[in-house]
Symmetry: C2
Subunit: 615 residues, 2 copies
């Protein structure tokens, strides 16, 4: 079995040719050479150590015995190596034990790690998110006790949010906190769907818990955040008593079997002691500060399985011999050919590639925005990149994970019957991918976030930055030979998108809000489609002049002939073709969807509830 995750040439292209590394003192040590080494190291770790845990992790899953959750045995060595390499905090401040890498570089490294085993990497992401909460809101004492051990991966972390009656509606939670005489709190309640909630990878697990202090207001305004360790930690950092965070069950899921999804009970079999993290009743805004990172990670998980599924399918399509060529196969004595020569297989591969390439650019760009926030010379600039991250987040999480499932489904289809059996990796990738559309805010929530918050944020200024950047690429593309048609198509799509956004945004703030939100998800879809078109045009814009240089011509027969011999010609030609495919064949449907959004059919809002059906 080939071990495939990502197209390294494409990773390098996005890092160095499409976007370029951020040039700033702050990231001085991360020059091209170092960055390439980091990506190579991540790739090595991913392929040699993490990928071998993918299938066993799926088969063994996690086992709960007497309150103890055992992860798949092979995860332990992988975790040790992951810790040793200091990957968990690769993009964090050296002061907290991090490596200080640019986020964009961290994403490049992570795409290999996540693509190798998204369930395994969820232990890391949960820990990282929890550590960031401590970094952002912890007292000096909390930081000293927990933070570095979390950033190193010695201790794990989670996020205890969901309850049986409080999923998307967090404000309905009932977990309670009671102040003790010593300033700590006793936490009581039950939490469900806790990723990495209990496991034996780490000697301790630090749970940030959302709970309501007795007497606090109802709803989200009365929620506070607490740190509740699995084992209490003594002042010298040694472990004390078990803190009665009891795992009462783990879910049997469609996929990501390697990650334990736990039901945790607090304060029911003895006291569970927590300390307040941040301010009383500010739990929701505090948690929201970490949300962009968490959602970007889920987008990365979607992308990771998508790129892996594409790489496997491509390899299979090149090597699987089946059926004759549609034209050449008519000649007498024609032999069967690799299935990549069949039009429908090529169509599916190109569909996957367009999505995977576009996702990669989008995710790296989102990472680069975070880097540019750090290196910004002015508050305005910093705010601009922060706003861009706000706008990009629902696309990165919602659109990417929707499309990841589609890509993974194509992957199975290319394998045919072999795609449906567990012997080949694409089957698991699709099962794993289905959760990414749900957790960290369902994609319906992402769509509401985009339409209801991001579109109108700061009176539309944030969204304006997003459109301006798109326009900049379009303007630059206009002077590039060979991409005139797709540039014009993206420009008119952008214009239609801007007017659609205006109309729907106005509707969302009018009395017609129910109609507007019945189109929230279609609006997320077209936003994503236009963003993909933008990313792919940008790639083509970078590639076209280089292709002229390498192939001497953009003429398709010349390019085709040289592509087989020259890797650069093949690569750059692929950028243009992929952009053409997406923009000419898929983007038109998005334009029609915009028309439908503007038309605003009322069936969704007006359908009587009884009309949906009976048993």
């Amino acid at each position: 079995m080939a071990q495939l995750i990502s197209d390294r040439r494409d990773v390098d292209f996005v890092l160095h040719e499409q976007f370029g590394l951020v040039d700033h003192d702050k990231f001085a040590e991360f020059n091209k050479k170092t960055v390439d080494l980091i990506v190579s190291e991540a790739r090595n770790l991913a392929i040699k150590e993490i990928l071998p845990t993918q299938k066993p992790g799926d088969e063994e899953g996690c086992v709960l015995e007497n309150g103890v959750v055992k992860v798949p045995e092979c995860f332990k060595r992988a975790w040790e190596l992951y810790k040793e390499g200091e990957w968990l905090a690769m993009t964090d401040d050296p002061e907290v034990g991090g490596q200080g890498m640019p986020k964009m570089v961290g994403i490049a490294a992570s795409e290999y790690l996540v693509g190798a085993n998204s369930a395994f990497m969820l232990y890391s992401a949960m820990t990282h998110g929890a550590a960031k909460l401590v970094e952002a809101f912890g007292t000096e004492e909390q930081k000293a006790l927990y933070m570095k051990k979390m950033f190193s991966g010695e201790w794990g972390g989670t996020m205890l949010l969901t309850e049986p009656e409080a999923g998307s509606d967090v404000g309905a939670l009932t977990t309670s906190a009671t102040l003790n005489d010593d300033g700590t709190y006793s936490i009581t309640g039950s939490k469900i769907f806790i990723s990495a909630g209990e496991h034996d990878l780490c000697e301790n697990i630090i749970h940030p818990v959302l709970a309501r202090i007795e007497g606090s207001p109802e709803g989200t305004k009365g929620i506070s955040l607490f740190l509740v360790p699995k084992y209490l930690v003594n002042e010298d950092g040694s472990l004390g008593d078990f803190n009665n965070v009891v795992c009462t069950g783990i879910e049997e899921k469609m996929g990501i079997h390697g990650n334990a999804t736990c039901t945790l009970s607090l304060g029911e079999k003895g006291k569970s002691i927590g300390t307040l993290l941040g301010e009383i009743n500010k739990g929701m805004p505090e948690m929201f500060k970490m949300m962009n990172e968490a959602r970007a990670f889920v987008g990365l998980q979607g992308f990771g399985v998508a790129t892996a599924s594409y790489m496997y399918s491509l390899d299979y399509a090149r090597t699987r011999i089946q059926g004759r060529h549609m034209v050449k196969g008519r000649e007498p004595g024609a032999k069967s050919v690799p299935i990549i020569q069949h039009p429908d297989v090529r169509r599916q591969l190109l569909n996957m590639k367009a999505m995977v390439d576009g996702m990669r650019s989008l995710l790296y760009l989102n990472g680069k925005c975070s880097d540019l926030m750090v290196t910004a010379e002015s508050d305005e600039e910093r705010e601009k990149y922060s706003d861009l991250v706000e706008v990009l987040t629902p696309i990165v999480k919602g659109y990417v994970t929707d499309k990841a499932l589609e890509v993974c489904s194509h992957g199975i289809q290319i394998y045919g019957g072999y795609g449906y059996i567990k012997e080949f990796p694409v089957e698991q990738l699709m099962r794993d991918s289905r959760i990414f559309m749900i957790y960290e805010g369902t994609n319906g929530i992402q769509a509401m976030d985009l339409l209801g918050r991001k579109l109108s944020m700061k009176k539309g200024r944030s969204f304006g930055y997003f459109i301006e950047w798109m326009e900049k690429t379009i303007q630059e593309s206009k002077s590039v030979e060979g991409i005139e048609n797709i540039t014009a198509s993206v420009e008119s799509a952008k214009e239609k998108f801007v007017s659609t956004a205006k109309i729907l945004g106005d509707r969302a703030r009018s009395a017609d809000v129910m109609n507007a939100f019945s189109f929230a998800h279609p609006f997320l879809e077209v936003t994503g489609d236009v963003t993909m078109a933008w990313m792919l045009l940008w790639r083509a814009m970078v590639a076209a002049p280089k292709l002229v240089k390498k192939a001497g011509s953009l003429e398709s027969s010349v390019v085709a002939e040289k592509a087989g011999k020259n890797k650069d010609v093949a690569f750059y030609a692929g950028q243009i073709r992929t952009a053409e495919f997406f923009i000419n064949t898929l983007l038109p449907s998005a334009l029609a969807k915009m028309d439908a959004i503007v038309a605003g059919d009322r069936a969704v809002e007006e359908m009587p509830e009884a009309s949906f059906g009976s048993k």
Copy 2:
């Protein structure tokens, strides 16, 4: 857990209001009363006896021990009751042991049975298909030995087609047949992916096997069909020796765990004796005669899981309380509401309903065409309905199963995190559904069949019948009050579709064939979309006058008010709203896709193979 599969009101609507039963002597005993009883009986069996096997079937799966495959234990009782009820041959000729039901009625009954457990019903479908082969091509002796026992379900049946190197390319198969002195053949070879290939539901299994007689031509022209029983059958019908059809493995799959997907070895551990079925070297055309039925069944499987997923999601959306109403929730003291009140949940439900309703109509119509073939007064009429089945088959199989996966994915999304865990039924439905896009000819093959064969069949006459029927509905709709706008939209969509079909069909017969077939699947998609629009318009056309009668008005506030109290008002209003939703919101994307097909971008054909990527 509610036990939900199908909306009985909708089943009755399609049978009696949209299409009507075939009125003919041949089906005289199947009047409305009898048909309703049959559907009720199927529903009872499905819900009481088959549905309880769904989850255990998934969990236990099939087990291979020493060449013997054990099905999930609970399947045995269900199979006995299924046999007792004579369901397997419900639509077959009484002469062969069938009940002689109209196909359309059989489909209505089957939608419950398949929706209850698609893996279980695959044992029945494989047996039925094999029995039909014996009926169509068997000698009197073969019929006497095998046929009735297969139609009764006493013995099972299969179809041994696929080999490791011969999947979509059947002509590449290497299983061989050698003539014995007594006129039988010794069959040697290995077959894979054999659904219901070996199991302990029946005392014998009759395998139709595709093999090449020594000396026959290469490719599909040299393939013959043989009957190879698991146990040889003596002249008196008693079982003889084991015939060395050895199960060497069963696949571990994403879903349909209850059906054994077997690797079978013939003639390797002793002789496997078969008798020729039909004529030498005519195996492929013989098998093709059964293909429409097999493909219709797979479409029915897709539809079955889709309707079940919809019914569960609808029930969940009506009972799950989470979050406040977007508008009314702003009032002080507003309580949380059932999630069916949230716009994005409604959108998804309506999307599911539009698909499920449209699929039901399409499948029943396809069944009715078969009935009208039987009752046709002239050869012309018979040929017309036969042609319609030919044209509808790739849509029924390809489009329906593509959309079934989408419907099942929506089902999971509506459940949120609960959708991803095995505790709720929608998780399994999605896993099960993924195979339907692959077996019985991948959907890529269906798309090629539609574009390459069905569009040009009989110089376009067959396709013409399909368009004419669509036109008839549109013309009739024009005089119906309240559906003027959607009628006009479907008419213009139909016109654009006809011109797209003409352009793409011409291209497929030109030197530009590779380009044409790179749009084969998009063409299947738009064909399906237009067909759905047709089906939903037809429903609205039937419903609108009845709604006026029941509600006194088509005005939405009047209808909404009465829908809560009057089931008919709710039902008929739902038909119109669902048609509006699909036609106004989803159909526009199909029109844009047609434009893209006509534009004929060349990226898929011209993308250099090396440009798809490297490792």
